[in-house]
Each structure stands twice: as C-alpha cells, then as structure tokens.
Amino acid sequence: MIDLSTTYLGLKLLNPLIPSSSPLTGNMDDAKRLQDAGASALILPSLFEEVVHHEQKQLEKYVHLQALGHYEAESYRPVPDDYAGEWDSYLQTIQNLKSDLDIPVIASLNGISSSGWTDFAIDMQQAGADALELNVYYVAADPLQTGEEVENRYVQLLTELREQINIPITMKLTSQFSSVGNVVNKLQQAGANGAVLFNRFYQPDIDLETLKLKPKIDLSNPIESLLRIRWIALLRGRVDLSLAATGGFHNNESIIKALLAGADAVYLCSVLLEKGPAYYAELLQQLAHWLEEHEYESIAQMQGSVSQQCAIDPATFEHNNYFDVIRNY
C-alpha cells in the first residue's frame, strides 16, 4: 500500500491534493462531496475585508440610516432583527464544516486594514479554522512605492498576525517579486508556516462597447503550472516551511511534477470547477497508480526528488533556457 500522506503546515494530511479556494469549498454539499472523494483538507474561499466593509456600509446606508427627513416616512424598508453578513456567514461556514467534516479546514483571508486582518484572523481561529492562508492580493500600483516597501507589507502583516493567533499561517504569494526566494525566506523568519506559489489575480478587462472596465477571472491554464513547479523546485530544501503549488494543476502529470519538484501540497481549483468534485478521486487514483507504476512507496519518497538541489541538471531551473527553446522551436 502506497503511503499518500503528506505534512502541510504541520498538519498531517491523507494526501497532498487540496481543493483550494473556490465556490466548491464554501458550501457544505460540495465540501462533503470533496471529502468523500478523498480530499485531504479544504481551503475556504477568501473572505475579503473590502467586501465586508462595502456590505456594512451598504447596510448602514440602506438599513440603519434610511431617514430622508420627511414627515411621512422615517424609513423605507423594514429593519431586520437579525441578518447574516459576509463575516458571520464565513465564520458560520468554518464552524459548520468543522463540525461536519473530518478533514482540516483552512481559512483564507484578504484584508485591507491592519485591524481588519487581525480581527478577522482572530475570529477565524476562534471559529475553529485549522490554519489560515493569507491571500495578500496586493497590486503595487503606486510607481513611487519600492519593491522593498511591498515586501515589508507582507512581513509586517505576518508579524502582527503571528502575535495574535497561534494556528499555522501560510502566505499566498504573487510571482511578481523581484526575488521570490528572498521574500519566502523573510516570511519564514517572520513566522510563516508555509508559502503558496502563486496567486492568480483578477484582471480588469475593457468593454469595447462601453469602454468601461470590468473585472474578469478566467480559469487557470495547465501551462501556468510550470512557473509554480520551477519555483517550488528552486525553494525546496532552501527554506524551512511548507510549500504548496497552486495555479494550473489540472492533470496528474502536473501534480506529479509539482511533488517531484518539492511541493508539500498541490492545490486544485479550476479542474474541480470544470469537472466536478468527483474528479478529485480520479486524480488521486491516477496519482496512486503512477506511484505504484513507478515503484514509489510513499509521497514523501518522491517529494523534492527533482528539486533543484536533487535534479540531474539543476542549472536548468535557473537558466533562461532561451538557447534550447529557440533552437527547438
């Protein structure tokens, strides 16, 4: 029997495939289907402080402060006794999943204010989250802001949160740092238990009729996995925290590559959205099959076996490879 287990953020997981933030992980029915399909943990959809903030402002405007100053009407809609906001619903979801599932539940947070990060994180821990993923999702739009300042935001945020909560924290990062490795290193020193490589940003799109901008999200493309695999391979063995690969892992091949490169876990999202939660079991089965076929005893045995430190041709991970690519085109 092949041992598929892995350790991620100090959590002992049944296998390295983790359904990541998506609508599937935020509702009980799909979450149960994923668990039934063998999912080893769940990353909840991110709670965006901006969304909570907007919602509360809307509620204040349209519920609590409705008066126009008119004799005939002090308000225009009934004020509900109780309502579930984004925040409450999120915490409730953590509690529900924790009580109904056996696998670890990892909360995901995107804050905009210092108090937002800490308040939400504390609540998530209290609600029972096994770990917290910080989806920093920061676009450094200001040309006067330096790369170092951006990196310090991450470090400072992590440092503050580390003081407030004791569950494992993993950082979901962008690939657009000048030195990804250095950032991961700094984060590790600041107390991060893991790094997730890499975030995919919503990209604004231009409507050619209205010339207005609209946010757009496309599902990932398998080709995107190579960037992740490369950086996992580069970091494996050089940093002492968990590494997860996310973005473009749609098939068994890319998953295996990520594990060979050194990932402790591989996140699955688009593929499950496209093919449904049951596909998870198929991927897991394929993984086990490959391991068996290639005579591996465990995931641990293969993890990092083709990292830069262990690769046959380690320089390839580092070089630009222009020569080979152009020659073979």
Binding site: E60, L68, Y76, P78, P80, Y83
Partner: protein, 1216 residues
C-alpha cells in the same frame, strides 16, 4: 401595585404595543401619521412575537381603509379580536362599516392618530376633524393626551369595549402625540391580563356567527321596525361611561395612574374653566398649574370620554364656583354655530346644570393641523374669559384680520415648567442623521437617568435637502409641554450644517447663557467672522458660549465618510453637561454597539474611532466683545417678485408662515404656479459643465434630469452677441432645423441637486480620455454659481422655439420644449419626475392634471411652492389633487367637463354662425372642422378662437356671452391622471378600471415605484415577488399584478410599459401616442425609488437591469393598429438577456432577503425567474399573432383570449 418599567417610545409605538398584545387579527393600510402603528404590528408578528395569549396576531394589509374596515367587520362577526390603525381620510373611508360595527354592538378598538381631513388643502398634521366626522357612527371616543396616556387608554379602551360591547375610537393627536418620544411607564403583561376580562372575550366569541348556532345578522328592515330596533341599543350607551370609569379605577389600582371621564385640574374655587380634549390639555395643564401658583382662580377640565357624552359626569367634575367656561375645539365646522365639543358642553349645562346660575360659555378653535398651542395662548383664553364681553367663536394661534375671530396673545409669556428643564434644539439635514442621533440621545438619557424626556421633530416639505429641527427636553418633573421650544428658551442650540448660518436665525431660540454648537470647516480662531452680524450680537447679548468642530473632517479621518451623526452627538453630550462626560460617551458607544450589533463590528469600530477623535477636534470659540463684518441672513425671495409671492410664499419659505394673516390667503385653496423657481436651495456640491466641443446635441441630459434644471434651447445666432461671458452655445446640428441657429444646454445652478444623472446618461466620451464626457460634474464654487446664475438668467430671456416647428418625435426636438414642471423637491435622482416633466413639455400648455395623493402630490403641490409652472403666454398645466382613492374619477370629471363645454360651445357657434361670419365668413366652419392632431393644428385653432373672441365682443346677445365663457374648450385640452402604484393598483383600482372602461379620452400615468413610496415603502400589489418591503418583511410571496394586461383586456385602451432610463425614445413615442389616441391611455412607468434600496445615482442602470432581466418588459399596445389590421401589441424590449438574479442582487429591497432568509430568497428568486420568462413568452406570442381584417368572426379580444389560453396551457405543461 405591579412592577413596571420605564421605556422611551412614541405614541404610535405605545398604541401598537397594546393593540398587538390584545388582538388576534389586525388589518392595516398605510396613512400618515398612523402608518408606524401598522409597521410595528407587522414587524412584531413577522418576528413571531405573540399576543397576551401566546398566539401571533395575523396582520393583513388591505387595498384601502374601506377594505380594512370591511375585513375587521367580518373578522369581528366571526368572533376574532380585531383592530386597526388609521387617520384622517382613512377613518372617513371606514365610516360606513363603523355604523354597522357599532349598530351590531361589536367590541373593537380603532386606534386613530387624529389628523386634519383635507378641505381647501390636504394636510397630514394633527387635529380632530377626522374623529369629529366619525362621531355619529355609534362608536365611543376616548382621547389620550400624551404617549403615556396612549398606552394606558389603548388598554382601557380594549377592556371597556369588550365589556360594554360598544366599539371605541381611541384617538390621540397626529404627530404631536403619535410621533412625540417620551419616557413612559410600560404596562406589564400581568396587569393587562387583569384588566382584560377573559369572560368578556368568551362572550364576544359566543356571539360570533357560526353554522353551529346560526343567526341572521345584518338584515334589511322596513319603516315599521327600523326605528325601534335602532333605539334598542340605548341601555348599552347609558352604561358605557360607568364601565369606562370602573375600568379606569381598576387600572389605577394596578398602576397608580388614575384617570377620569372628565378630569379637573386647578383651583377648587376656580371661576374660569377651560374645557379641552387631546394633547392641548397637556399645555393647558402646565399653564393652569403655573397660574394657580400665582394666585389665579383657574381650572381646566380634560375631556377623556367624548362619546358617549356623560353630561352628569361633566357637571360633577366642574367646581361649583365656576362662572365662565371656554370650550376649545381642535376642528372647524363651517356654517355651524359652534364646534362639536362646545355645543356638547352647552347642551349638557342647559340640560343638567343645577347650580345657582348657569356659567357663561364661549367656544373657540385652536391648533388646526398641528398649529402651535402654547401656554401664552392658554393664558390669553383665560384673560379673554375675564372680560365682561368675552368673545365667542374665537380662534387662538392665528391672526384673523378678516372676520376678526382671533384672540391676541403675549408670545413672551412663559410658565415655570422649564425652570429646571434642559431644552435643546438641533438644526440638521434629513440625510445627515441628526434626527436619529437625537432619538438615540433621548433614549440614552431616558434609560440611564431618572429624568423625564421628550423629543419632537419638525421637518420641511422637501425630500431632497430637507431641513430637520429637533426639539429635545430633559427634566426632573413630568413634561406636559406639548409645544415646541420657543424663542429664548433653548439651553443648547446646535447647527449641524454650516449653510444654515445664512438661512436661519437659529439663536433666536437660545436662552441666556446657552451653548451654541456649530459644525464648520472654519477653525475656531476664525469662526467669529463667518457668523452673521445679528448672530454675533445675540451671542454677545445673551452670553452664549460657542463651540465648533469640523465634523466632516473628523468623519473623513475616521472612515465615517460623510456621516456626522455620532460625532455631533458626542459634542452634545460633552458640552451640554446633561450627563457626566465619560458616562455619556460610554452610553453613546453602547448605543452604537446596540444599533450595529456584532454583525456591524466594522461600523462599530469606525464609530468608536470617530467618537474618540471628536473631543480633540471640539473647540470653544473666544467671543469678542463686538461684532465683525456685515453678513446677514439671505431672504430667498427677491423684492421684485409679485406681491403674493413676497407676502405669502416668501414668508412660508422663510419659516414665518405662522405669522401670515388670514386675509392674505386664497379662500378656495388656489395658488399661483411657477413658484418653485423662487425657492433657490443651492443643494449641489457639484454641478454639470458642458464641453461644447464634444456635445452631440442628443438631448438626453434634459430628458433625464429629475429636477428640470438642465435645459436646451435653439435661437438665432445673433443673440449670442449679447450673451454674458462664459455662456456656451454652438451651431445646431442636423437637418431638422434651419441654419443660423445656435443651440445651448444650460444649467440652473441654484436649483440643481447635483444628482449627476445628466452626466451618467451623456453618451459622448472624449476619444482620447474616456473619463471626460460632453457633460462633467465639477465643484460648485461661489465663482461658478455667479457665472452660471447670469448664464441662466440670459438663457431664460432667450425666446422659446416655436412649438409647432419642433420635431416632437425625437428626443432632441422634444427637449427643446419648455418644461412646465421644474425644480421639484423630490428626492435627488427621483425616478418619477422625468416622466411628469416630459408630459409637461409635450402637452403642458393645454394640460389638466388630476394627481392622486402620494409622492407626486407632495413634491407637486405641498406649499410653500409648486414645480408646476407656465410659459410666457401664461399657459401651463392646471393641477389639482382630490383624494388618494378617487383620482381616476376626478380626472374623468375634468374630461367630461371639457367635452361637455366643448359640445355646448359648438352648439352656440352654430347658433351664432351668422352673427360671427356673416355670409362670407369661414371662421365658424374652420373652428368646427379643425384638425388638432398636431401642434400646428392646435396653434391654428388657438388663433381662430382668439379671432372668435374678438368678434364676440361686438355681438350683443346672451348666447355670445355664454360662448365667451366656454370658448376656451374649443381648443384641444389634454387630461392627465397621474399617481403612483398604491393608487393605481390598490386603493384607486376600482375607479381606474371604470375610467378605462369608459372609453373617454384621458391619459393615465402610473408612476410605478412598486411600493407606497410617500408613506415609507409599504407593500402594494405592484410590489414584486421576493421584495422586502414594509408589510412584507419576510419578502412578498406573491407576484406583481399585471396591470398592463388587465388594461389591454379592454382592447380600447392604449397601454404602454416604459422605462426611460432603458429606452428613452420608446418612452417618448408612448407619451406622444397616448396623447394622440382619442380614448383612454395608460402609461405604466418604471420609477426607481429610494425605497428600492439603491443609490439613485444608478437610476438608469437599475432601469436597464429591470428591462434586460425581464422584470420590466417594454411594450406598447395601440388599439389604432388593430383597426388598421395590424397587431396592436408591439414589444419594444428583447427577451430577458440576463438572469433575474443579476437585477435583484443590486437592490437592497431584494438582496436583504438573502441575508435574513436565504432559503426563502432562493425559492422566490426561482419563481420570479419563471414569472418573467413566462410573461415575456406570453407577450411575445400576443405580439406575433397575425392580425388582419379578413376574419370578422375573430375580433381582437378573441385572439387575445385564445392566445392567453394557449400560453396558459403551455405554461402549465412546462410546469408539469
């Protein structure tokens, strides 16, 4: 005595709480000022709050008060404990059933927030004209004078009615009591259980109609028996006063609050006594107690049980020493020799007085429509009584210089009631949260101290930029002052908006050593010179301490955006000293937490931060010993305005309406139009600026402007030479207009509200910078104001383009017509007013408007000003409001009058043809055969009628004089019947249906906001499924009524379903076609409203979403097309192209349900999605039916009916 607790609530809540606890069924219908009672009851039941017996009362909204009364009647007859809440016209609509309910000795209590009945004008304020109109119904009438009494009497009435079997109207003064917040002692449930007799309830149920023990009730009787049967109830009425008094005594034993049928207060040996009923008795009590302390021998008799009128109890309550009595009525009965209470007292004394000499009795009127009634006025009445020949049938509180009925009073008179009371007054904007913060402060003080509290709120008539004045009192003694804080009395005056400095003489209200709190962007060191000179002088003279804060800056710094309510509240507590500062701040924080709860933690944080930051930014201003500068209060109306505008309209605008004498008022309620133009409100922070280099002259901006402040004109280019610098115009584009013409789009800066919808609709972007449009909002600076004011004045002087030459079928063309509806006080971005404005542009100069009560009658006709106006020729819409329920009939009456007089004029014309035309003339023939189907024809007919008038001058005959008086009807008039969905779908539907069936030429415009907007967003039958509205707190489970389909069923009705923000040209076509159609036309207009829970800046977007989702399909049904062999129905919008969810997610009225009941929301969404798909599918089929004249056996209605059947079958199949 039972344990009780103090609560801080208003009169409406007090009444509703007892009503909800002691009834099983409550029928409701919104009407100001009673609506909150129904809203409370609905809210409690929707939260499953049970009544005294553990079951949740059933709350049922009806289509009118008449419907509510009928339902009550039925529920009572079937044995349920049933009640309702109403006021004014609503009570009048209940009268027929009230006779029945009383005639059948059926116990119930109607809780009435007494309000004026509309006469020369509608008024929502308090007086007793409604209850007096209902006094012959056989109901008993019990008057409560204060919020405490409202709660107590609601219970006493319930018990007394059950025991006596006589139904009771429990009434209290609208607004003054219904909306006054006070600290009152609540009644514990165990006390209520002891007062309400279980046996009485069982007896009531035993009398219920039941097939188990059937009776016939409600028979028809003949002359032989009706009279005797009617007299059979007398013993019940004879016993009733004793029953009420006994229950009052029982109540006193349980609560310590003793009431009497007639309650005497004052000197035991008084010679002068005032008799009064309602909240005025509170003021009278305060005055009498004060004057008696001064040694006066005065008395006051409060009337509590008005019907049955117990004359013996009245006389017993009077001191034997009384020599003179003044009876005050809060109603007017024109033509009577005295008002009802006065005459009851007179007849009681005449019949039953046993004293040595009958007291002299005078009667007077006071307080109509919440007119202030102060201690000074009470004293004036006692002073009048002291006169040898005291004036009878007097009035107090007004200056009657016509029939000289009024008594003079000394406004400076004060009682000692407020020697230790803290009185505070706050000036704010309706939208800045001042009122809610003050309500909060009242609760904090009421609940955390032993003080008695009172809060009353005064608003102006506008919905955009409304000014609020909060009057708060806090004292160690019970507060009986049912009047506003007067000049020189306020210990604290707050100005929450710096612009008020130049508008209101706020410190007139300030007492000696008062505190003045000002929100201003100016630093404390420089504030002094920003104050008007008179205000500076008042500060010096009255030794007022002045504090200032830049609340908007604090709000910005702390993430509160523009919300200054808690910031100003913190200032009030920290400088008023009413509570220890730290305790007060903690209380504010607790209140914030309570408001937003754990769910609103982020809001709590922001508020806390603002509260903490406030004290650092609050500064006391050093007061110099002399004034600086010469700033003065600005008078709104210029001195060159017409006499009436200056003396009446201007005075009302300036807040001095109370001082206008009777003689200046129109006796029949007619007021000049065009007055909104005088009320320059300068509300905007930004106004639009035109970039003529980009403007395509599409005309969309004037079309969508809800306030008619952006206009277009074309004029001879030569006139540009005399334009002020900065005036923008451009050569006109397009073939429809001659060359050498210039076009201008001009803003009326001082009337703009800054809503930004004109910019939103502008389709033209700068090719190199898409954020820059042909129209852009820019900061409204003082400099810009001056520049645009002179541009606007120049624009107004430019001649109007010839109406008959305008292409009214295009947006650009129709927008060249002068709006005869301008500058309304509707909400910023109102979705209704663009439709009204459009009608006024197209047809305003020949328009008669019947306007149903509602938002459109308030922004259309609430004094001081009206947006309805006239053109240079003096022509414009003639507007009137009859009632809420009868608007269609009212408009039909106008059409009948016009048609009849036109027919009569034609008869006279024929009769006088020889005199007018001689043998050669053509005038009569031309007039009779005029074609007025277009503007040119209408103008020609006007010219002919003008010629006719000239000719008639020289004809001496009665017929000629008759013709002169009706000749205007020879020109085509356009009758418009305008109202909201509450009217059209609910209360007025019967009339609307009848008018449509009449086939008469009227245009009906339904401004469909899908709720009763004016009274606060209550559910109507136009409310869509799944919307959360008042009376549908759990989401409306049933679909919206399809009014258009019902109208199309008549076949002879032109029907249009429009949304101008989605497809403006379709709206324009609909208006033109509706007017062209010589039968009834119905335009149902989608009107985004603040009740939808949207930012009205997104008004157009919401209309597009409504159309694209299928919620609001656009179509026109023109019966003329059927005559031409074409299908009368034309769909103007495509099949639903976005999921219904996408529309409703953007509106709080819908998306609130996801936060409260997600499963219900999903289910209703699914049904709504099906609704819109089926509806479109059905219309699509109707519109695609072949329509030809070859099949006479298949008239249009058959085809429709068949299509309907087919669709229903298909729909049914699909559902299966």
């Amino acid at each position: 005595m039972s344990k009780s607790r103090f609560i801080t609530i208003d009169g409406n809540q007090a009444a509703a709480s007892i009503a909800h606890l002691t009834n099983e069924i409550i029928t409701i219908y919104p009407i100001t000022p009673a609506s909150p009672m129904g809203e409370w009851a609905d809210e409690w039941s929707s939260r499953q709050q049970p009544n005294l017996w553990g079951t949740v009362p059933d709350i049922v909204e009806m289509q009118s008060e008449a419907g509510a009364a009928g339902t009550i009647h039925g529920a009572l007859q079937a044995g349920a404990l049933t009640t309702t809440f109403t006021a004014s016209q609503g009570l009048l609509l209940m009268i027929p059933n009230m006779f029945k309910i009383a005639g059948e000795l059926t116990p119930t209590v109607f809780h009435v927030a007494a309000r004026s009945v509309a006469s020369q004008a509608l008024s929502i304020f308090g007086d007793h004209s409604d209850v007096m109109a209902a006094r012959t119904t056989g109901f008993a009438f019990l008057a409560a004078n204060s919020p405490q009494e409202v709660m107590d009497f609601a219970l006493i009435a319930q018990a007394a009615s059950l025991q006596s079997r006589i139904p009771i109207v429990h009434f209290f003064d609208g607004f003054r009591t219904s909306h006054e917040i006070a600290k009152i002692e609540s009644i514990p449930n165990e006390t209520i259980s002891k007062i309400i007799s279980h046996e009485d309830i069982v007896e009531h149920r035993k009398r219920a109609l039941s097939p188990e023990h059937p009776v016939l009730r409600g028979s028809s009787q003949n002359p032989d028996v009706f009279f005797q049967a009617r007299e059979s109830v007398n013993p019940y009425y004879e016993k009733m006063p004793d029953i009420v008094q006994t229950i009052m005594n029982q109540f006193a034993a349980l609560t310590g609050r003793q009431y009497k049928l007639f309650e005497y207060i004052g000197a035991a040996d008084a010679d002068r006594v005032l008799i009064i009923m309602g909240s005025g008795a509170e003021t009278a009590q305060e005055t009498v107690e004060h004057l008696c302390k001064q040694g006066e021998k005065l008395g006051l008799l409060k009337v509590r049980l008005f019907r049955p009128f117990d004359a013996t109890a009245l006389i017993t309550a009077l001191p034997a020493s009384v020599k003179k009595i003044a009876v005050l009525d809060r109603t007017k009965e024109p033509g009577a020799d005295g008002e009802p209470l006065y005459k009851d007292v007179l007849s009681a004394l005449a019949q039953h007085y046993n004293g040595s000499s009958l007291p002299r009795v005078i009667g007077g009127r006071y307080g109509l429509s919440s007119k202030e009634f102060t201690p000074a006025m009470v004293k004036a009445i006692y002073d009048e009584l002291a006169q040898e020949q005291a004036k009878n049938h007097f009035t107090i509180g007004i200056y009657d210089d016509v029939t000289h009925s009024s008594l003079n009073w000394q406004p400076e008179f004060r009682t000692d009631a407020h020697d230790t009371t803290f009185q505070a007054i706050f000036y704010g904007l309706g939208s800045d949260g001042t009122v809610s913060a003050n309500k909060n402060s009242i609760k904090i003080i009421g609940e955390s101290t032993d003080k008695f509290v009172q809060g009353y709120f005064v608003y102006d008539s506008k919905k955009s930029g409304a000014v609020t004045i909060s009057h708060l009192r806090f004292g160690d003694k019970p507060i009986h002052s049912s009047y506003l804080i007067d000049n020189g009395d306020a210990d604290f005056v707050a100005c929450h908006q710096p612009v008020f400095l130049e508008r209101y003489t706020m410190l007139d209200k300030a007492a000696e050593n008062a505190v003045f709190l000002l929100n201003t962007p100016t630093h404390a060191d420089k504030v002094w010179q920003t104050l008007p000179k008179d205000m500076q002088q008042q500060i010096i003279d009255k030794h007022i301490r002045v504090y200032c804060i830049d609340a908007y800056q604090v709000a910005r710094l702390t993430g509160m955006d523009k919300r200054i309510n808690t910031i100003m509240q913190t200032c009030f507590f920290s400088i008023s000293g009413i509570l220890p500062k730290d305790e007060a701040i903690q209380s504010i924080k607790n209140a914030v937490k309570k408001t937003y709860g754990k769910k609103g933690k982020r809001l709590v944080d922001f508020n806390f931060r603002a509260i903490d930051k406030t004290l650092d930014k609050l500064h006391e201003v050093d007061i110099p010993d002399k004034t600086i500068g010469d700033l003065a209060i600005v008078d709104k109306v210029t001195s060159n305005a017409p006499d009436f505008i200056r003396k009446v309209t201007g005075e009302i605008i300036a807040g001095r309406g109370d001082q206008i004498p009777v003689s200046l008022f129109p006796t029949d309620g007619s007021y000049p139009t065009g007055t909104a133009a005088y009320e320059k409100r300068n509300l905007a922070l930004e106004i639009p600026e035109l970039d003529i280099a980009l403007c395509s002259q599409c005309g969309k901006c004037p079309l969508v402007c809800p306030h008619g402040v952006i206009r277009s004109k074309v004029f001879d280019e030569k006139l540009v030479a005399s334009a002020p610098p900065g005036f923008k115009s451009m050569p006109i584009k397009g073939k429809d207009y001659p060359q050498q013409l210039h076009m201008s789009y001009q803003i009326a800066p001082e009337d703009c509200t800054g809503c930004g919808l004109c910019v939103d609709i502008c389709p033209i972007h700068d090719k190199s910078n898409v954020s820059h449009k042909a129209l852009n909002m820019i900061a409204y600076t003082e400099e810009l104001r001056e520049q645009e004011k002179s541009n606007w004045e120049f624009f107004l002087m430019l001649p109007e383009y010839d109406h008959s030459a305008v292409k009214t079928g295009t947006i650009k063309g129709s927008m060249l017509l002068q709006p005869l509806f301008e500058f309304s006080g509707a909400c910023e971005g109102c979705g209704e007013t663009p439709y009204i404005k459009l009608a006024s542009q197209l047809f305003g100069d020949r328009m008669l408007v019947a306007n149903a009560t509602g938002c459109s009658s308030i922004y259309g006709g609430n004094l001081p000003t009206t947006p309805w106006t006239k053109n240079l020729q003096g022509r414009g819409p003639a507007w009137s409001n009859s009632l809420f329920e009868d608007n269609a009939e009212f408009g039909l009456g106008m059409r009948l009058a016009v048609n009849k007089q036109q027919a009569y004029a034609k008869e006279l014309l024929k009769q006088l043809a020889d005199d007018i035309d001689g043998k050669q003339g053509q005038l009569v023939t031309d007039i009779l055969n005029a074609d007025e189907s277009d503007e040119q024809g209408i103008q020609q007919q006007r010219d002919r009628v003008a010629s006719l008038r000239k000719k008639l001058e020289s004809i001496e005959s009665t017929a000629a004089r008759e013709l002169e008086s009706v000749a205007e009807n020879l020109c085509r008039k356009s009758v418009w019947i305008i109202g909201g969905d509450g009217w059209a779908y609910d209360i007025g539907y019967g009339g609307l249906d009848h008018v449509m069936a009449s086939g008469r030429d009227v245009n009906i415009l339904v401004l469909d906001t899908e709720v009763y907007s004016n009274t606060g967003g209550q559910t109507s039958k136009a409310t869509p499924r799944g919307a959360v509205a008042k009376f549908s707190a759990g989401g409306k489970p049933t679909p919206k009524k399809d009014l258009a389909l019902l109208a199309m069923d008549y076949e002879n009705v032109y029907v249009a379903h429009v949304a101008y923000g989605a497809k403006d040209i379709q709206t324009l076509h609909a208006f033109n076609e509706a007017e062209a159609y010589r039968g009834p036309s119905l335009i149902i207009a989608y009107s985004p409203c603040i009740a939808h829970g949207i930012d009205l800046k997104n008004n157009h977007q919401q209309q597009k979403l409504a159309v694209n989702s299928g919620h609001w399909p656009l179509f026109r049904y023109n019966p003329e097309h059927a005559k031409q062999g074409k299908n009368p129905l034309h769909l103007d919008s495509k099949p639903p192209s976005i999921p219904y969810r996408e529309f409703i997610e953007t509106e709080v009225r819908f998306n609130m349900l996801w936060r409260t009941q997600p499963e219900v929301a999903e289910k209703l969404l699914e049904q709504s999605q099906q609704d819109v798909l089926h509806r479109y599918h059905f219309y699509e089929q109707l519109a695609s039916l072949p329509w030809d004249d070859d099949a006479p056996t298949q008239p249009p209605h058959r085809k429709l009916a068949e299509a309907l059947k087919t669709t229903m079958a298909e729909t049914g199949n699909k559902k299966e």
